[in-house]
């Protein structure tokens, strides 16, 4: 029902991931099957412990699955990591305090060996993209939390990976800032055409942003529902009052509740 020409970018088949903890093994992911296509905006939603962050980290090769297959651009996650296939945005901005905002954005570029001129050019461009033009010379601790998070998104965009993985990027911000950043994220997605994986706790955020919503539940972490959003690509903030929006939100909530009942 969506663009048939789109290529699968991330494919998980029968994925299991077990953490060995002091209290015995914990099944963080159980039999996860999911395909994410080129240009999708996929949200992962669920209560803590449902494995949404673990799944994102597995895609990024920050965790190793215990069994099953996981392909990123047809490669193993670790190969994809080495090929710099994705940019990762964490819940906290994680900017290095000894570097200016521009210096932070240049850091991945330095590591990847971009030329000095290209580093400057790209830094200017992504700063503009996240509306931080003119803040390049500031240090992170001189900016607000929202601005720091935008800078960390700019950093993830700077090297132009096809995939953007965002782990509750706006979770620590207040509602007003969050709304604005959600809007900007959508614009960014429309402009760049990237594939985005987005972990969130918030139902409205998931419904507002995504073309595909993956509902997960805990113990063991698993997918309980995958919803393809019928909402159009253009989404003004007040789309959240539309009937369709409310229906999808309702279905997500039902999915979350169903997952919880099995406890």
């Amino acid at each position: 029902m969506k663009d048939m020409a789109s290529q699968p970018v991330i494919e998980a088949k029968g994925l299991n991931l077990v953490f060995q903890t002091a209290d015995g093994p914990v099944q963080a992911l159980k039999d996860v099957n999911l395909t994410i296509n080129q240009g999708d905006f996929v949200s992962f939603i669920g209560p803590s412990g449902c494995g949404k962050t673990t799944f994102l980290r597995a895609i990024a090769a920050l965790e190793t699955p215990t069994s099953g297959t996981l392909r990123v651009n047809g490669m193993t996650p670790d190969e994809a990591r080495r090929k710099r296939a994705y940019g990762y945005v964490f819940q906290a901005a994680g900017l290095y305090p000894w570097r200016t905002i521009a210096g932070n954005i240049k850091l991945p570029l330095e590591i990847m060996g971009f030329s000095k001129a290209e580093q400057d050019e790209r830094t200017e461009r992504v700063l503009e993209l996240v509306e931080l033009k003119g803040f390049g010379k500031k240090f992170p601790w001189q900016l607000s939390g929202g601005m720091q998070q935008r800078a960390s998104i700019a950093r993830a965009l700077a090297f132009d990976a096809d995939i953007l993985l965002m782990d509750e990027p706006f979770g620590a911000l207040d509602e007003i800032v969050r709304d604005r950043l959600n809007e900007e994220t959508l614009k960014l997605w429309a402009r760049t055409g990237k594939t985005i994986g987005f972990v969130t706790h918030s139902i409205p955020e998931a419904v507002y942003l995504s073309t595909k919503i993956v509902v997960m539940s805990p113990r063991p972490g698993r997918i309980t529902d995958v919803i393809d959003s019928p909402l159009p690509k253009e989404r003004p903030l007040d789309i959240r009052d539309s009937r369709e929006f409310i229906e999808i939100a309702h279905r997500v909530r039902e999915g979350l509740r169903a997952g919880h009942h099995e406890d």
């Binding site: 994680g94 290095y96 000894w98 850091l107 590591i111 601790w141």
Partner: protein
Amino acid sequence: MTFLVVALVVWLALWALNVWIAGSPLSKARAGKLMVPLIFGVAVLVLWEGLVRGLEVSFVILPPPSAIAAKIGASLPVLWQDAAQTILKGAIPGFLIGCGSAVLVAIAIDRSPFLQRGLLPIGNFVAALPIVGLAPILVMWFGFDWQSKAAVVVAMVFFPMLVNTVAGLQASERMQRDLMATWGASYLQTLVKLRLPAAMPFLFNGLKIASTLALIGAIVAEFFGSPTYGMGFRISTEVGRLGLDMVWAEIAVAALAGSLLYGIVSLIERWVTFWHPSQRH
């Protein structure tokens, strides 16, 4: 008796002056901030002088500051020769070698759990050796000149520096290391661009502790054999001759040099770790 009275009066007057400055707008100005500690220092010296002279304290117990100052003035070449021997040749090379090798070993330890289990306990063991036992042995090994003093300093500063650096290398956040991994950074890139900068506040803690230890080590090591000059040599021989003014002169030089060394390290620290919450103003 007059000495005592004059000293007390001057002391109280300076005290009152400081109280007045602290309450006046001058206390916010740079001049005021400099004057208050300076006046306090002068007051302590005046009180010391007056008490020692007024109460006729024996010269051997505590010489008056004026006698110490006169001794410093009269023996500048000797004091300089001693300081050059002990500080420039003993303490500073030892400090640099000890701290430098501690950082390198810390990086090796951090890289390999095998070394972590092997080298940290050895470092700990060496640090636990008493300096009065270690110094004579090192003098036997490295000779009477500055080399053995530098060796004692190395042994003293190595462990605090090592422990601080090892802790510092673990100071970067997991998320920041994960970020480096997502960018496909190599071990060396992560070390240079993330972990060493993040370790700097710890490194400077170690350097500050080491800077004071270095001076103590270099002076004490001379008690166990040295050429006929050096601060430790001078102190031990002058004590034997009851030349306490010279001992105090050496102590003054040591205090000055120690503060200077510490100050230089602090200054570099402020420049390098300007980003750390403790340094932001």
